[in-house]
Assembly symmetry: C2
């Protein structure tokens, strides 16, 4: 066949007069008075190729057999179009190709959906025919953006002395590995590898191994019920360093983000990134990943209303809870229905309700207004900066719940008031996460990140008195309300590690049983180290302006962890199971028997 | 702690007078008349730091508690050494650091082996303490080389319009998947994912998806009995292109190798690479991955000896076999023992023996000489270029066996005669592999690569008459006798695919059952495409001048697929198995019971 010497989408008036060979797919065709116009598409774009009996009868005859998605090779001359036929929607819209020769390289069945952007197609159909979906310009651009973005990550890290090290995918199942994917061993009957949820242990071992600066674009695995924005396998840019302070690391990562956004989508992000402690993020924005593209801060009014005649406020305050308030500026005009809907809205986040007050014609209205004393109204007016037209909302609950309710209400109000500038990229560091939190069920403290997270030096004394108050040297990087990465400095001193385990309720001996070789490694001269991991899929989603993680992945899985293209997972043979020394459970056998029976319906479509 | 502002190994006379902070590990220490000299090591190298009571009594006192592998932070002045104490073995050998301040950042137990190169340490001990082994300069350099090499791959491919696309690791188990690692699904009882042996299907789907140029540094998995140079998980640089000829692709890959060797180890490799057809490689060098750093070609002498009185030659020739000869130049001096050892040598490769003739004092000697007619001797003399001092060797067998025996003898002789220049990198393309080969057991043809490999256009007519003679558009890239990559052009025409399946003994319907969605994809306008995959681990091994694949991998597994560091694979809990809907087989349960009993010995050490 004739192999291309140019790309379809790159031809312009500069090429006029040149003889070119193009290869591509038929995007569309129309016969106009015996002249055939075909839009030929390759990954660079579309160009119009023209078959005219005056150029070649034979070429016209061959081309007239082509249909959509046929693969053609054409050879012809680039000519300028008549100005009145310029197509401003096409980069190549001022030229066309006069075809002298054509080959039908391959035919195609009619695709199950049109290969173009902006067409409503059921996502499960797109996933089943992913190889056709990938031909759409939008998918091509997203995959190209993803490739470019990982290159920027790598270039920056390479230039800063990092080494790309591959860590194992067949690893050890840990006691914490409830969500591990397991892989039975053929060689060692009854034993299993686990797929890593992250390269955490290995990257710390690399620091102990003196690598000093490591990164990896690492595939990670988590076997859990999938939400719309999770995938069973996902990619993180995993980074670890020795001999750097948290401050040095965060600055380095800010510069990485600057380069990433500049070189992929031409956006200049502001530095230094804003910082919020976890405490302030929760209190002011009701979230540990607040969207700071708009203000609308939440206020704590517990001190004002703790003796109020609003019973629920007083009783919550008395039992150690908080009363959080959000002034939805200008929302006094909400309908009764909108106000009533606040109750189910609160319930969605575990709240008992949202109290409200409208400020109209200088008057406060709402079920609770009558219970307020004048000085409470005065204090609230000042604290919440109350003005005509405002809607005051309140959540009284345990901090976590009240924050969650108000944080989500803040987002809802922000969206409805159009406060969010979608063209903006607003980064934020959330720092000083608690080191441990109390687990009511286990009746002990558990590590918020993992048991190797380093506490603040200033808080070490709290191990003995109030472990829950210890701040960790842990940080998340948040973009427009999404957590796009996170990490921590790690413990490297044995005395601190012992205190940490004691706080979690283990002796060092119990810890050794649990963490085995990993704790051994710490005994041989561990350097101070720490790191971060970026969620690549989500970062690409935000860079590409998409709202669905699956759009950023060439071959994603559905919300039920199925690959609709290959139909994985699937049953395997008895022989394969024998080789791996496993058998199916009764439940699995029953499921298989049922699957063997005729199926009335297909798997439900995944939800976006 | 004091964080470093310089790296140990980079300090030179240029830094004299500067005050620096260094962090690193104690490589060694010696007390010399009350002055303490410590070699401080980080990933860049070693520098001597000096503790003298005249600089700081306190620093000396603290440092005197340090032992090997302690982590120190030191602050001091770079000074020039006395010329008589220059250390020419150290890049920093002309300077030292006068320490004013020191911190013991961390202590270390005595390591189980010295952290230096060139020390004989049992490999299993090194693997168990890999985090210490990684501190050795050699391991650091190899991992750095690996990181650099993948960067060169990526840069070259990015610059040539390739897109880095990640393909799934949780994939479908195929009927050919006898060596698949399987992963039970929690969500779908009785169903399994498979880990990919290569991204073959996905990369071809990407071509159907119009990506045109794809690459990935891809983790692949093969669950098989491991030889010394195999790993259960390995890395390949996986490449696929559309609309390129084989010739264009091979040239592009040659330029990639040129760049790789130039930019990693500063070696200029010659282009164009030599080419050999599979036929010629087997016939002339007895191998499909010949080491062409030396000549010593094998000759076919079947025509000369087919009527010989050497019975075995005549009978092998009569039954369709071949007689292959190698003239081991100058080896007539081999001892009787060496000549006798040729028999077990041949047996190792399945041969029945090696006949030999020495040429000494103008006379041919050896058991078979008396059976030759003068015209046979004359013809052999000419064909084998026989001269005084030569050792003529013969293998009579089926082609495959004779080639294997002579090919290995060629390597042995080449090594013993010192014909191999170890500083040389000799690339070679082996092309025109057979498309299919006859499987005696299955009584049918099987695909040599896979059933989507494209046959030569000129050989299509042979499908009806002699499928075994069809040449594939398949190629391996060979370096110094190692296969470092391979690939093929793929079938994209339905008529050719049907012929291929017919040759393999399937109807198109049977093929669809077997290959399902993948064949469906081919119906929607498949472009001509083809690709290659490089074995990264082996390539790094050759670049780094190592002889063991494990040296190129940060955390490798042993020959029995065990990770000696983490002890993976391991037993898991009943609860985990329940969640995955599997149970252990009787054999696995028995193995577990046995493992729970006291163990007399450790796992045997892996063999290099």
């Amino acid at each position: 066949m004739m192999l291309k010497n140019h790309d379809c989408g790159t031809l312009t008036k500069q090429h006029v007069g040149q003889n070119v060979v193009l290869n591509g797919w038929v995007q569309g065709w129309r016969d106009f008075g015996g002249i055939l116009f075909i839009d030929l598409r390759d990954r660079t774009g579309i160009v119009q190729v023209v078959f005219n009996p005056e150029f070649s009868k034979e070429a016209l005859e061959i081309a007239s057999r082509a249909r959509n998605e046929y693969v053609l090779a054409v050879q012809g001359q680039v000519v300028e179009r008549d100005p009145e036929t310029f197509n401003p929607n096409l980069a190549t819209g001022e030229i066309e190709i006069r075809v002298q020769q054509v080959e039908i390289v391959n035919s195609a069945k009619t695709p199950p959906f049109p290969i173009e952007d902006g067409v409503e197609v059921d996502e499960s159909l797109r996933l089943k025919y992913r190889y056709l979906d990938l031909r759409r310009p939008e998918m091509q651009q997203t995959l190209r953006l993803r490739s470019k973005a990982t290159k920027v990550f790598r270039d920056y890290l390479d230039d800063n002395g990092f080494i790309d090290v591959e860590t194992p995918i067949l690893t050890l199942s840990t006691p914490e590995g409830a969500r591990d994917y397991l892989v039975p061993s053929r060689v060692h009957p009854g034993e299993f590898f686990a797929l890593p949820q992250s390269p955490q242990l290995f990257k710390q071992l690399l620091m102990i191994g003196g690598i000093e600066r490591y990164y990896q674009v690492a595939r990670c695995f988590r076997d859990e019920d999938l939400r719309a924005d999770r995938q069973p396998e996902f990619t993180q840019v995993d980074i670890e360093t020795s001999f750097l302070s948290q401050e040095q690391l965060l600055t380095m990562m800010e510069n990485l983000m600057v380069k990433l956004f500049r070189e992929t989508i031409g956006v200049e992000v502001e530095t230094p990134f804003q910082r919020l402690t976890y405490h302030d993020a929760i209190h002011k924005y009701g979230s540990d990943k607040p969207d700071l593209r708009f203000g609308l801060e939440i206020e704590d009014v517990t001190d004002i209303v703790k003796n109020s005649d609003v019973k629920v406020f007083a009783s919550v305050a008395a039992s150690g809870g908080v009363v959080k308030a959000l002034n939805a500026k200008g929302c006094a005009s909400w309908s009764r229905k909108e106000l009533d809907d606040l109750q189910p809205f609160a319930a969605r986040y575990g709240g008992k309700g949202i109290a409200w007050i409208t400020v109209k014609d200088g008057e406060w209205r709402g079920p609770i207004v009558k219970f307020f004393k004048p000085e409470e109204i005065a204090a609230l007016t000042e604290r919440l900066n109350v003005e005509e037209g405002d809607l005051l909302t309140f959540s009284a609950d345990k901090l976590k719940t009240a924050a969650d309710v108000m944080g989500n209400l803040r987002l809802k109000v922000g969206r409805e008031l159009g406060l969010i500038d979608n063209s903006r990229f607003k980064f934020l560091w959330v720092t000083d996460f608690p080191l441990v939190e109390w687990d009511e069920e286990a009746k002990r403290y558990v590590a918020l990140h993992h048991p190797f997270t380093r506490p603040h030096d200033d808080d070490l004394h709290l191990f003995d008195t109030d472990p829950g108050a210890i701040r960790a040297q842990a940080y998340d990087i948040v973009l427009n309300g999404y957590e796009v990465g996170g990490g921590s400095m790690r413990i490297y001193r044995r005395d601190v590690q012992e205190k940490m385990f004691a706080a979690l309720g283990f002796t060092m001996e119990e810890a050794k049983e649990r963490f085995g070789f990993f704790l051994d490694a710490f005994e041989y001269g561990t350097p101070p180290h720490g790191g971060i991991a970026f969620g690549l899929d989500r970062l690409i989603m935000l860079l590409a302006g998409r709202t669905n993680l699956r759009e950023t992945i060439a071959f994603p899985k559905t919300a039920s962890a199925t690959d609709l293209l290959t139909d994985a997972p699937s049953a395997v043979t008895e022989r394969q199971l024998d080789d791996l020394h496993i058998r199916l459970s009764a439940k699995a056998l029953a499921a298989q028997a049922k699957a063997a029976a005729p199926q009335p319906s297909e798997e439900p479509a995944p939800q976006a």
